[in-house]
C-alpha cells in the first residue's frame, strides 16, 4: 500500500510542478500577488509530495518489501539498517528520486528564506528564481514517474504480484560509512548550485541584473562549494582506504564530473566579487553560474549514458539523452534571456591595467574555466576522437596530471598575489610593501628545496621547486595580511595581538575566511606534490617468515589469521614493521570474503594503513590461499605515501575557512 501512495504522490507532483510554473509566470507577468502566492505554495506542495514518495521508498527498504523491484536490486534482508537506508541512492532510479527530493528541499527553503523579505518590500526576485527551480524539479519528476523509456519508477512493484525471496544486496565495496555519505554529499553540493543559477535566471527574467541576485544566493553558492569540497574528498578518501591501489584520485570520468562543477563554482565565487566591487562582469557571472549548473547535469549525462566507460560506470541507458536534451533546451532558454536583457548587462567599468586585482581575478577565471574545458576535452576524448578520426581513443591519467600542472601552479601563485595586489593598477609602493618579502622568501625556499632534492638524487625537481616557492610566497603574503590587520586592530582597540586577530576575522568573515581557504589550498598543494610525486611502490611475493623493503621500512610477514564475522570472513597476514632497523609494530592487511547464496564468495581488499607523522605506509594483499601455511605464497603490494595526511589537513582547513566565510550575513543591496 505504501508504495502505491508514494507512486500517487509522484504523479500528483507533476500537477503541483506545473501549477508552480504556471502560476508564478502568470502571477509575475500580471502582477497578481495571489497567483504568485499560489505558485509558491505549489513549490511547497511538491516538496511534501516528493517527501511522501521518498519516505515510502525508505519504508520499503526498512520493511524488506521484496515485491518492489528497486528494493530487490539494492537491498537484502541481511543488509545493516544504515545501508538499507543509503540504498536509496544505490542505483539510478532511486538516486534520481533522492536528487529530486533534495531539489524540492532547496525549493522549500528558498520559499521560506524569502517569505518575510517578500512581504516587507514587495520584492519578486525570489519568486522569479522559483520558476527555474520548479522547471528543473519537473524535469526530474517526469524522469521518476517511470512513464518514459529508460528509467523506471523506483516505487514500482514487479508485474503480476511477483515477490522475490530476498534482495540482491548492495555491493560490499559500497558498504562503508564514507561510501554511505560520499554520494549524498555530492548531490547536496550539486543541487545547491541550482539556487544561484535560478537567481541568475530570475535576475534576467525580472531585469534586475545588479548584484542583488548574487548577494541573495551567496550563501547557497558558498554552501555548495563547501559541501562539494567535502564530497569530492570523501570519495578520494574512500578510494584510498578501500580500493587497494594506494591513491586517491585517478581522473576517472566520474571524478572529473564532480570536479568540473567545483572548478566552475570556485571561479564564480571569485568573479562575483568584481561585480560587487566594480560593477563589471555582469554577463560573465550569469554565464559562469549557468555553466556550473549545466556541468552538474553534464556529469550525470557522462556517467549515466554509458558513452564513456569508467571505474564507477553505471550502465548504458537512455537517460543520458534526456539530460543532454534538458541541458541544451535550458541553455538555449538562458541565452534567449541574455539577448533579451543585453543592454542592461553592460559593465560600468573597464579593466584599467594588466597588473591589478581585477586582472588577477580575470586570470583566475580564465584558468579555472580553461582547466574545466581541458578536463572536459580529455574526459570526452573517446567520443570526440571517434567522431573526428573514426578511431576510438582515450587519454590516460598522465594526460590530466600533465595538463593541470602549469595552470595549477599559476593558480597557486594567484592564491597569494590576488589578495595583496591593489585594485585598478599596481603601484611601486604596493609592490614594495606587499610583494617584496613574500617573493624573496618564496624564491629562497625554492632554492633550498632544489638543493635538498638534488642532494637526494632527484634529477628533475622543477615542478616541486616551483610548487614550494609559490606555496611559501602565498603563505608569507597571507600571514602578513593577517599580521598587519591584527596589529592594527589591537592598536586601535588597545588590546592584545591575539584579540586583535580574533576581532579582525570576526569583523570581516568573508575576507579572512577566504584567506583561510587560501591557506588550506597551499597545504593541499603540498600534500598533492608529496603524495603524487614522491610515493614509493614495491611488489613482492612472500611466504611466512620472508621480508621485503620499501624505502626505510622493512616488513616481515610473520603470521596469518582468519576470523569469521556476521556476513563475511576476514583473512590476512601479520607484518612486523621496522624502520631503519628498529622494530615499530605490526600491520595486518587483509581481504574480506562476503558470502552470497548460490554465488560463492566475493572478496575485497582491506588494506592496512599506518600513519608515520604525515606519511603513510600502505599494504594491500592479492589473492589469498585458505589457511596460509609455511610454503604458501602471498602477493603483497606496499606503498609509501609521503605527505598524504597533508592532503586531508589541507581540505579540512579549506572547509573551516569556508564555514567562517559563510557565517557573514548577506546584505541585500538596494541597487537594481
Amino acid at each position: 500500500m505504501t508504495a502505491e501512495i508514494g507512486q500517487a504522490a509522484i504523479y500528483l507532483s507533476v500537477l503541483s510542478g506545473l501549477w508552480a510554473i504556471g502560476f508564478l509566470c502568470v502571477g509575475l507577468r500580471t502582477r497578481n500577488p495571489n497567483a504568485v502566492r499560489s505558485g509558491r505554495n505549489a513549490v511547497i506542495a511538491t516538496f511534501i509530495l516528493i517527501s511522501i514518495a521518498t519516505g515510502a521508498l525508505i519504508y520499503g527498504f526498512v520493511t524488506d518489501d521484496f515485491s518492489m523491484r528497486y528494493v530487490v536490486e539494492v537491498s537484502s534482508a541481511a543488509q545493516p539498517l544504515l545501508y538499507k537506508v543509503t540504498a536509496l541512492w544505490g542505483r539510478m532510479s532511486g538516486s534520481l528520486l533522492f536528487w529530486l527530493w533534495l531539489l524540492t528541499v532547496a525549493g522549500a527553503i528558498v520559499v521560506w528564506q524569502n517569505h518575510r523579505y517578500n512581504k516587507q518590500t514587495g520584492d519578486t526576485l525570489a519568486a522569479y528564481a522559483l520558476i527555474p527551480i520548479a522547471i528543473v524539479q519537473l524535469f526530474f519528476i517526469i524522469l521518476v514517474t517511470g512513464l518514459i523509456e529508460g528509467v523506471y519508477n523506483p516505487l514500482a512493484r514487479f508485474p503480476n504480484g511477483q515477490v522475490a525471496p530476498d534482495g540482491a544486496g548492495m555491493n560490499p565495496l559500497l558498504q562503508t560509512p564514507s561510501m554511505a555519505f560520499h554520494p549524498p554529499t555530492l548531490y547536496v553540493g550539486w543541487i545547491s548550485l541550482t539556487v544561484p543559477f535560478a537567481f541568475a535566471v530570475g535576475a534576467l527574467a525580472s531585469g534586475r541584473v545588479g548584484s542583488d541576485w548574487i548577494l541573495r544566493s551567496r550563501r547557497w553558492t558558498l554552501f555548495s562549494w563547501i559541501v562539494l569540497t567535502v564530497g569530492i574528498t570523501l570519495g578520494g578518501n574512500w578510494a584510498y582506504r578501500e580500493l587497494g591501489w594506494g591513491g586517491y584520485w585517478a581522473w576517472d570520468p566520474v571524478e572529473n564530473a564532480s570536479f568540473m562543477p567545483w572548478l566552475l563554482g570556485t571561479a564564480y565565487l571569485h568573479s562575483v566579487m568584481i561585480q560587487e566591487k566594480r560593477s563589471m562582469f555582469k554577463l560573465w557571472n550569469i554565464l559562469l553560474i549557468t555553466l556550473a549548473f549545466q556541468f552538474t547535469l553534464l556529469g550525470t549525462f557522462i556517467t549515466r549514458s554509458g558513452i564513456i566507460s569508467s571505474v564507477h560506470a553505471f550502465a548504458q541507458s537512455d537517460i543520458g539523452g534526456y539530460f543532454l536534451g534538458f541541458i541544451l533546451i535550458s541553455t538555449a532558454g538562458v541565452v534567449g534571456l541574455i539577448i533579451y536583457r543585453w543592454k542592461r548587462l553592460k559593465s560600468a567599468n573597464r579593466l584599467e591595467s594588466l597588473l591589478s586585482r581585477e586582472s588577477a581575478f580575470v586570470l583566475n577565471n580564465w584558468l579555472f574555466v580553461g582547466l574545466t574545458l581541458i578536463i572536459l576535452w580529455g574526459t570526452l576524448w573517446p567520443i570526440i576522437s571517434e567522431a573526428i578520426n573514426g578511431q576510438k581513443a582515450s587519454v590516460p591519467e598522465a594526460f590530466f596530471n600533465q595538463v593541470v600542472i602549469i595552470p595549477g601552479l599559476l593558480l597557486l601563485f594567484l592564491t597569494g598575489a590576488g589578495p595583496i595586489i591593489s585594485w585598478k593598477k599596481i603601484t611601486t609602493n604596493n609592490f614594495r610593501r606587499m610583494f617584496m618579502w613574500p617573493l624573496v622568501i618564496g624564491l629562497v625556499s625554492g632554492a633550498l628545496t632544489w638543493g635538498f632534492l638534488a642532494l637526494k638524487g632527484n634529477t628533475s625537481p622543477i615542478y616541486s621547486v616551483l610548487c614550494v616557492s609559490a606555496a611559501v610566497f602565498v603563505l608569507v603574503a597571507i600571514f602578513a595580511e593577517f599580521y598587519r590587520g591584527a596589529r592594527l586592530r589591537a592598536k586601535r582597540q588597545e588590546t592584545s595581538f591575539l584579540n586583535g586577530l580574533g576581532l579582525l576575522i570576526q569583523r570581516n568573515k568573508r575576507r579572512y575566511g577566504g584567506y583561510i581557504i587560501h591557506i588550506g589550498i597551499v597545504i593541499l598543494y603540498i600534500g598533492i606534490m608529496g603524495s603524487k610525486g614522491y610515493f614509493l611502490l614495491e611488489s613482492d611475493s612472500l611466504s611466512l617468515g620472508e621480508s621485503m623493503k620499501v624505502g626505510a621500512f622493512e616488513l616481515t610477514m610473520k603470521d596469518s589469521f582468519e576470523r569469521e564475522y556476521a556476513n563475511y570472513r576476514r583473512a590476512g597476514v601479520i607484518f612486523d614493521v621496522a624502520k631503519n632497523g628498529k622494530r615499530i609494530g605490526t600491520m595486518e592487511p587483509a581481504r574480506h570474503f562476503y558470502y552470497k547464496a548460490g554465488q560463492g564468495e566475493q572478496d575485497t581488499i582491506e588494506s592496512a594503513i599506518r600513519h608515520f607523522g604525515v606519511n603513510d605506509l600502505y599494504i594491500a594483499l592479492g589473492e589469498l590461499p585458505r589457511n596460509i601455511k609455511g610454503g604458501d605464497i602471498v602477493n603483497v603490494q606496499v606503498y609509501h605515501n609521503p605527505l598524504i595526511s597533508v592532503v586531508w589537513i589541507g581540505v579540512a582547513v579549506m572547509v573551516i575557512g569556508g564555514i567562517i566565510a559563510i557565517a557573514e550575513k548577506s546584505q541585500h543591496s538596494k541597487e537594481t
Partner: protein, 148 residues
C-alpha cells in the same frame, strides 16, 4: 591610451587562450591511446607494433594463469564477436577484483605484434552479474567497474 590598453589586454588574453589550447592539444597528442577490440588489433597488427593500446573484450575461458611466485598474471582477451584473441601479461600488480572467466576486461599497455602480446600497465574488470541478484530473471539496469 585607452586603445593601447585594450590592445594589451586582448593580446594577453590571446596568449593565455592559445597557451591553454596548445597545452591541451600537445598533451593529447602525446598521451592519447588508441582503443581496439581484439579483432581490430589483430587485423591492424603491423601498424600498432610497439605502441600503447587499449583493448576491450572478454577474458578468454581457461586462459588465465596466476603465477603467485613471480607476481604475474597471464591471460587472453577474446573478441566479443569473433574468434580473435590477444595475449596479456600483467606483472607486479595485484589481480583486480572480479577477474573471472568470460568477464569483461579492459586492458591498457604496450603491444608486441610479433608475439600478439600486450604488456599491460592497467587492468580493469567489470562485474556485470555478480551482484545482480540470485534472481537473475529480474532485469537490472546497472553494472559497475572495479579498477586496479
Amino acid at each position: 591610451m585607452q586603445k593601447q590598453r585594450r590592445l594589451k589586454i586582448i593580446a594577453a588574453s590571446l596568449v593565455l587562450l592559445s597557451g591553454m589550447v596548445f597545452l591541451g592539444y600537445a598533451m593529447l597528442k602525446k598521451t592519447s591511446v588508441r582503443h581496439f577490440t581484439p579483432a581490430l588489433l589483430v587485423a591492424d597488427q603491423g601498424k600498432v607494433d610497439d605502441q600503447l593500446v587499449q583493448v576491450d573484450g572478454l577474458i578468454s575461458e581457461g586462459s588465465s594463469e596466476w603465477d603467485a611466485a613471480n607476481f604475474k598474471l597471464t591471460f587472453a582477451v577474446r573478441d566479443r564477436e569473433s574468434a580473435a584473441t590477444v595475449n596479456v601479461i600483467y606483472k607486479d600488480r595485484l589481480k583486480p577484483d572480479n577477474f573471472v572467466d568470460g568477464g569483461s576486461v579492459f586492458v591498457e599497455g604496450r603491444y608486441d605484434a610479433s608475439e600478439n602480446l600486450i604488456v599491460a600497465t592497467k587492468l580493469m574488470t567489470k562485474c556485470a552479474s555478480k551482484y545482480e541478484g540470485a534472481e537473475s530473471a529480474i532485469p537490472t539496469d546497472e553494472t559497475s567497474y572495479i579498477s586496479q
